[in-house]
């Protein structure tokens, strides 16, 4: 099933999503990466703008700074999410974010906080940065510029996607399903053919 969602959004909108569904996003999304989340959670600094209802994107964009101090997108892509899994509970429970977007999936430990507090993991097609950049209409706000390029970014997007619901708020993960099936195939037939 396909969903079009405008972010920021509420819990009901992400509870309606199920693993395997596709999503296109309108509105605003927020870029974060390792250093951004280390500052929020390990150094206890409050983000300069609210993450309530937000869709968060794991990114460190290539940008150009213009004369007026604003930034122009050059190439915006998505990084591997697994290494940032431990921040999931804090992002959803304490900061009210509703979607985490990245590639490769969060670790299985993230499924429970997504279920309990109402969040989803949306998989983007990793490496498809040229396309992703065309879906970013503007860089609206940049905070914590000292962390460049791992700042806190606010992007305005149009038709952002396709995104695939990789981990939903009902305890299901496509990544886990694929791993279980691959292990079954290895054990039941592939290893016997070596």
């Amino acid at each position: 099933m396909h969903h079009e969602i405008t972010f920021p959004t509420d819990e009901a909108a992400v509870r309606a999503l199920h693993a395997g569904d596709t999503v296109t996003i309108q509105g605003e999304i927020v870029g974060i990466r390792d250093a951004t989340q280390i500052r929020i959670f390990d150094h206890g600094q409050e983000p300069p703008f609210s993450l309530r209802g937000a869709a968060l994107l794991h990114t460190a964009p290539n940008v150009r700074k213009l004369a007026d101090g604003s930034y122009e997108p050059m190439c915006i892509g998505t990084t591997t999410s697994a290494r940032m899994s431990r921040f999931t509970e804090g992002l959803i429970r304490d900061h009210g974010a509703r979607a985490i977007m990245g590639k490769g999936g969060l670790l299985p430990e993230a499924l429970e906080p997504l279920r309990e507090h109402g969040g989803v993991y949306l998989a983007i097609v990793g490496g498809a940065a040229a396309l992703e950049t065309t879906q970013i209409e503007a860089i609206e706000q940049v905070e914590w510029e000292d962390l460049m390029p791992e700042c806190l970014w606010r992007f305005r997007v149009r038709d952002f996607g396709p995104l695939i619901v990789g981990m939903d708020s009902h305890g299901e993960s496509l990544y886990e399903n694929v791993q279980v099936e691959a292990r079954r195939r290895l054990d039941e037939s592939i290893y016997a053919r070596l």
Partner: protein, 299 residues
Amino acid sequence: MSTIESTDLAVAVEDAAAHLYVWALKDIPQDLRDALRDAMGRETHKVGKRILETINTNVSVADEQGNLVCQDTGIAVFYARVGERFPLHPAQIEIALREGTRRATLEHPLRSNTVHTLTRKATGDNTGHRIPHIHWEFVPDWDGLDVKCVPKGSGSENMSFLKMLVPADGVKAIKRFVLDSIVGAGGKPCPPGIVGVGVGGSADLAMHLAKEAIARPVGTQNDDPDVAALETDLFALLNDTGVGPMGLGGDTTVLAVHVEQAHTHITLNPVAVNYQCWAARRASAHISAAGAIEYDREA
């Protein structure tokens, strides 16, 4: 006998390196484009097909916009084949490749990824201590230089695996290790890509060979028939796992499996896996002793 000054030749090599780095990031090779299109046509899994369609669209958008295919400009890896009569010494070739990388990064500009491993302090120009890394091959009775640039992203490089198997484990254990590595990596290295496998040598040589393997064009086979047979077997086995594009399920888990072999110690059986993502960027140039540069999309 060429009369070219070595400084001019150094400039030619630097120019080639700068061009190759940017070109590789924007315009992926034809063999890879063909493999991605074929995979899209064959894929029967709905999500997998959608992902492959998006990947192919992205390649076209990069062409149209002159943008990078993927934002991860990686670490530049160079493969230099140096003829014994090429007039520029490898010490100078190394400086030129490094300068070219630096210049491309600052002039384009490209995102710099290079940091000191312990302090994490960024250098800002994609060069650093021992970076870019250069693979060398020296060719007797030749006066040319071939340079290939492979910008290697971190998502795939993080999915690198080494195991010192024992001889009694045989080829069967090599296959099992590759299968377990790729299934375990799941969607993290941006499948479907090129699986590079190095067998033999020593621990360091096995991984070095795996890195040579990922730089080969899709569709090439190892000259050694036993090694080529292992490539064919692994390709079929890996695509039966169902990991699929971006690890979300499908028929296409890998586009190619390339294996490189070195002889080894009688009591060793090393195997190394180095993954290259679907955006398997690669660009080559041939440089003559007179400094003429010929760019090559196939090599």
